[in-house]
Amino acid sequence: MTPPTATEVANGATPPPASSPLLDLLEGFMGELRAAGLPVSLTENLDAMQAVKHIPIEDRGAFKYALAATLVKNNAHWRAFETVFEVYFSIRGKEYALDVVSDGEMPDPDDESLQGQEANGQPGAGGGGDGLTPEELQRMLFQALLQGDEALLRALARQAVKRFAGMEPGRPVGGTYYLYRTLRNLGLDDTLEELMARAREDSPETLTSLEERLERDEYESRIDRLKKEVEAEIRRRLVADRGVEAMARTLRKPLPEDIDFMHASREELVSLRKAIFPLTRKLAVRLARKRRHGRKGPLDFRATVRRSLSFGGVPVEPKFRYPRPSKPEIFVIADISGSVASFARFTLHLVYAIAGQFSKVRSFVFIDGLDEVTSYFEGVDDIAHAVHRVNTEADVVWVDGHSDYGHAFEVFWNAYGREIGPKTTVMILGDARNNYHASQAWVVKEIQKKARHVFWLNPEPSSYWDTGDSIVGEYGVHCDGVFECRNMRQLERFVDNLV
């Protein structure tokens, strides 16, 4: 299972930069970074080559940071970089050789049963700890977590993968499957509570809730570390089995700004939520600047002459006509049913983050009924919380909780239609999958007549539009624009143009 390149690189103590293995490896590495969407320019590529001249590959940490400093210029891309780095460099270096667990990392020597096992076992052949029963393994794991013993944790993580993951060469399953299997066998779900219980026992007095919280944080972070170790070990083994390129391809994940709203996994949603805050802040700053700076107008002749009267007809002080860009009023009408909910959530978040750019923002959400949620955002400085309330408290179900755009629009028109004025921009968010109800497209037509603009943002790829029960085309003819808005990048561009 040992990959051919591992020994080559490990043996080359001072890798001359022109020597092909490392160079080839770096070539592949950069190619993969580009494929993952990181903008790596030629200059940066050359810089990285320069940088690794000064840092030996054996110093893995420094090597990683050297590459990162030259190649990754945006912190949001760090994770993508790390993954690729792990794949390309994780199995290189002796201490990462697959089946050999060095003695330094051997499990707790105090554990008698283990020592006995080890003496009998063949050293080096299968790695230590093979003879452990699952219960012993579990017990040691518990101890390691309790004491926060990093080396032991790492060794145990490897052992666990070896034993529980059931990895077979060439088996076409994803790494997550192995991860799931390993973790399930380790039974980590209850471990946290057990650890907490032990902590409570060990403490002389009862824990205050603050102490409890701190202990819990500590153990959670240790368990997280264990999971990461397990994941890394699985990855190492997969790389060894399938080769670097194939592995990198399967692990390739979109960057936060390219994550598809509709198909984001739970984990991706978390990273999206983290990404949205800096993004909105940047957008707000940019928009505010634009407004402040674009204020040079043509000479206002009339005002200049009027002003010159006070100086005896000499135009001492020329007057200019300042453009006064009108702040649009925004109505957001969002479908928050099932799959498009996260899209609506991010859009609302973004719109409210730059609410200062608009004279008024009103928001409505619907599934088959419709409710105004503007009040949730008033006087709240935590937008995320308000958005959460929208998703849980708004009264949006009329009959069965399946999207009915037609009915929702009708309700909107009857209740709020007259409040739309010539300064209003209406944004409708949704995939227009109407479950074959009546479309009531006349409402959108009426809105368009009264409003300044009507835009439709659709989180589906445009090739899916008007297939199945999607009737975006029927509404689209009455809109000033229908935009595909699948990820943060597209959403940001739209909002930027809107203001």
Binding site: P39, D47, A62, K73, L210, D217, H385, H388
Partner: protein, 299 residues
């Protein structure tokens, strides 16, 4: 050219000597910046020691720190150089009686004597070792960024009247950014990138121990742990390292040796600056596990 540092480890230990606790990434990038002769763009949340890094590097090198504080509206005459036009005027006035030609005066008034150097030019012309710190570079407009490009890639400044002034030595250059806007590709390309995040618990504890005299190990540990816990909440503004230090000092002044809930929540306003954050943290620290992660996707 002589190198300033032996190895990343050497950087780390000498930074440690001036009470700046770095980590592998920081030390590695500073080392590389020296070896490759490239500027470092330091990014990260406020109060994590970005500016302090430049100061500390200057301290260990025994170099003069030249600082350019960026702000909106910063221009050439504040960043690079300016002609001392009042003095130039005086000169012309004084020359009036003499029979000198216009060419003479012109070459004269556009000479070194009438040049006011601003930080960037000063760093380039310095004879002694200097560290140049361009602070909060994200505050200048995109157009102004272009001013920096020449100096960052070639360490030179072109003055139309005088020609190109090249650096006598390549100074260490640090740019800091709070990431309020995306910096231009051109600028990023010329720099090494370093993201300084909040330190992990162990490092934060060491920072508290080294920066707050007389603090007990136990209290430092607790402080670090509580701060980590608070940073895991979803807050508008997570506590920075400098706020952690302020908090530790306050606790010390109050004569606290083990933090309990009441003391923690009463002094939270030192760590957190928004009322909503304080309310949330108080609620969580006093044991209410109600809203740990608001906005968890509803499926």
């Amino acid at each position: 050219m002589d190198h300033r540092f032996e190895s990343p480890a050497a950087v780390r230990s000498s930074l440690g000597q001036v009470n700046y606790l770095s980590d592998e990434g920081i030390a590695g990038v500073v080392f590389l910046a020296d070896r490759l002769g490239k500027p470092v763009l330091v990014e990260g949340p406020a109060g994590t020691g970005k500016t302090q890094l430049a100061k500390s590097v200057a301290e260990i090198l025994g170099a003069r720190l030249i600082r350019l504080q960026c702000y909106e509206g910063l221009d050439e005459s504040k960043a690079l150089y300016e002609w001392n036009y009042k003095k130039q005027l005086l000169r012309i006035q004084a020359e009036r009686n003499n029979e000198s030609t216009w060419e003479d005066i012109e070459t004269d008034i556009f000479s070194d004597e009438f040049l006011l150097t601003r930080p960037l030019l000063e760093a380039i012309r310095a004879e002694d070792p200097v560290v140049l710190l361009i602070d909060e570079v994200d505050r200048v407009e995109v157009e102004t960024e272009a001013l920096l490009l020449e100096i960052l890639s070639d360490y030179q400044v072109s003055i139309p009247e005088l020609g190109t002034i090249e650096a006598r030595q390549i100074p260490m250059v640090f740019l800091t950014s709070n990431n309020t806007r995306e910096l231009s590709e051109a600028l990023k390309r010329r720099c090494l990138f370093l993201h300084i995040d909040y330190p992990d618990m162990e490092r934060e504890k060491q920072i508290v121990l080294s920066k707050v005299p007389d603090i007990t190990e136990n209290l430092a540990d607790q402080v670090a742990r509580i701060v980590r816990s608070i940073r895991q909440m979803e807050l508008k503004k997570a506590p920075s390292v400098s706020e952690t230090l302020d908090w530790a000092r306050t606790l010390l002044l109050l004569g606290v040796d083990t933090v309990n809930e009441a003391e923690a929540t009463e002094t939270l306003h030192i760590l957190l600056k928004y009322q909503s954050d304080i309310a949330k943290a108080t609620k969580e620290l006093s044991g209410d596990k109600g809203v740990r992660k608001p906005g968890v996707p509803r499926t």
